[in-house]
Symmetry: C2
Subunit: 127 residues, 2 copies
DNA sequence: CAGTCAGGACTACAAGTGTAGGTCACATGT
DNA sequence: ACATGTGACCTACACTTGTAGTCCTGACTG
């Protein structure tokens, strides 16, 4: 399995727009990005799409006048890679303090807490 | 409260070395970094220290021949800032999927699981 | 005192990032 | 067929990051 390329902050937004439904033309992707944040400039988005293709994160196939883009890595793979790097960088690799931080400092609804408890319980049973 | 400056990947290592005990001279910091990873070049470490001072992440006070460095932000503040940005970038701000990801994909000892369950329970009681 | 070494100040430099602008060709409306 | 607009392709450019090297000076060592 090829290594996930390094994806920068802004590129992540683009990747998420692609994962949201693919293959997608640049126009579609630009529209999704703008929907989320109107300050997105189409030129910027297209530049990033091109860079992501160069990096091997996306594939593009010509479709008449336009291109359609498709991710070359599943979101889950990229998430895992980014998570590892974050965990390492910020928490020195210590998982529990990290989870504790989020549980302590962010908002979780009671329903979400319940779900997490169930996840932990299942986790435990699985050894 | 001033905004936490943006701290890059490598700079995080330096910051953690400073948080590990301060004020600390550059020699001490260089030593801590090298202890963790012998490939650290002293020059590189000093450059990063200077950059962090420029960025306003560290303060330096002359102490005879050398400088002593001191963090201008608590580790917790920086951790919180980095965590927010990570959560946003990679999970689009969705906390629960993020926690679920880590619980699912990383190693947790039974003891750690227990601690997290307690945290969640306390969390719930606190409303 | 002369050589040596450590540390700060400045410099270097390529790759990666954020943020577009300009050009050119094809598709489309009139 | 002509004017327009849109997308691909190339170009730009300043800033950040990683990774040091050079130079100078004061301190320490014989």
């Amino acid at each position: 399995m090829k290594r996930v390329p390094r994806i920068s902050e802004t590129e992540w937004e683009v990747m998420r727009a692609v994962w949201a439904g693919h293959p997608a033309t640049s126009a579609e992707i630009v529209a999704r990005l703008a929907a989320d944040d109107p300050t997105w400039h189409p030129k910027t988005a297209r530049t990033l799409l091109a860079r992501l293709v160069e990096k091997g994160a996306l594939a593009s196939e010509a479709d008449g006048r336009a291109f359609r883009y498709r991710p070359l890595f599943a979101e889950a793979e990229c998430v895992a890679a980014a998570s590892d790097s974050f965990l390492d960088r910020v928490f020195g690799g210590a998982l529990k303090p990290m989870l504790a931080h989020f549980v302590e400092h962010q908002d979780l609804s009671p329903a979400e807490i319940k779900e997490l408890e169930e996840l932990l319980a299942r986790r435990k049973r699985r050894r």
